[in-house]
């Protein structure tokens, strides 16, 4: 899958998994932080849902909390991680 397609698919999965009903895929800025102020403003429970998302759709387990901070920083960082670890 091309990187552009992967990122679009990832945005759709995030919207569905996190019930972001007022958010559209076009609202994501690929390099912007997913958490905190700005961006789409995800919270700590959302972070857990993103771990489930990677396992559910890409069969990737994130077990190191420190690693999670980097993996879930942005759409770009998530796409990087998926490309590196997808089986």
């Amino acid at each position: 899958m091309a990187r552009v397609e992967l990122k679009e698919e990832l945005k759709d999965h995030i919207i569905e998994q996190l019930n972001l009903e007022d958010v559209k895929a076009s609202d994501f800025v690929d390099e912007a932080p997913l958490f905190g102020e700005g961006g789409v403003g995800l919270d700590s429970i959302d972070a857990l849902e993103l771990i489930v998302l990677l396992e559910k759709y890409y069969q990737i387990n994130v077990t190191n909390p420190e690693e999670g901070k980097l993996v879930f920083y942005s759409i770009n960082s998530m796409a990087d991680y998926i490309e590196q670890h997808r089986k």
Binding site: L18, N19, E21, D22, I45, D46, L48, E49, V52, E55
Partner: protein
């Protein structure tokens, strides 16, 4: 709030279609609180009921941030969400963190408190049926201990939506009636 309508002070203010449900009411009220979509049905119902109560009793907004107590109860705890969470790990093999968060009914009170920045007393009880004594005895303690108002609630959503919220004031308010068992039963339309 029943499954198909919302009544405020004996006036029907909204009628639901099966398609719209609580999300339709949220949109109808023009609210902007994206976290609403992440809540379970119990919290969504409590959240919307209190939003409507605030419209009907705006004096609540003037209370100190620790002046409003929340006193809710139901007959089903969080069993609807408990069942969904169980399905997420038994069938889907992926326990949902966001469902797990709502596997306690008093989380609904937390959602209301966060929304309104209320830091007063909270209590959530379980009873087979609507129990006026619970509200009368507990609200008396809350009001004696300094709460300016107690928001009472009965909150069932699992088999059919059956939601009531009301406000009990420490000081007399225009149009308010005295708290009695009969008053509360009348609110629930129990003869």
């Amino acid at each position: 709030m029943t499954g198909d309508k919302v009544i405020v002070n004996d006036q029907t203010v909204w009628e639901a279609s099966p398609e719209t449900g609580l999300t339709g009411l949220y949109k109808e009220l023009g609210l902007e609180y994206p976290k609403f979509y992440k809540m379970d049905q119990l919290s969504q119902a409590a959240f919307l009921a209190v939003e409507l109560l605030l419209q009907a009793a705006p004096a609540l907004k003037e209370s100190a941030d620790d002046g409003v107590a929340l006193l809710f109860a139901n007959a089903e705890s969080s069993s609807a969400t408990d069942a969904r969470f169980r399905k997420s790990y038994e069938e889907d093999r992926l326990p949902s963190p966001s469902l797990f968060v709502y596997t306690l009914p008093n989380i609904a009170l937390g959602e209301i408190a966060i929304r309104n920045k209320w830091y007063g007393e909270h209590m959530f009880g379980f009873f087979p049926n609507f129990t006026p004594d619970f509200y009368m005895a507990t609200s008396e303690i809350m009001l004696q201990q300094g709460s300016e108002a107690v928001i009472g609630g009965w909150l069932n959503v699992r088999d059919q939506r059956d939601v009531l919220v009301f406000v009990l004031w420490a000081a007399p308010q225009e149009g308010a009636v005295r708290l009695t068992e009969a008053t509360l039963n009348n609110l629930m339309h129990i003869d």
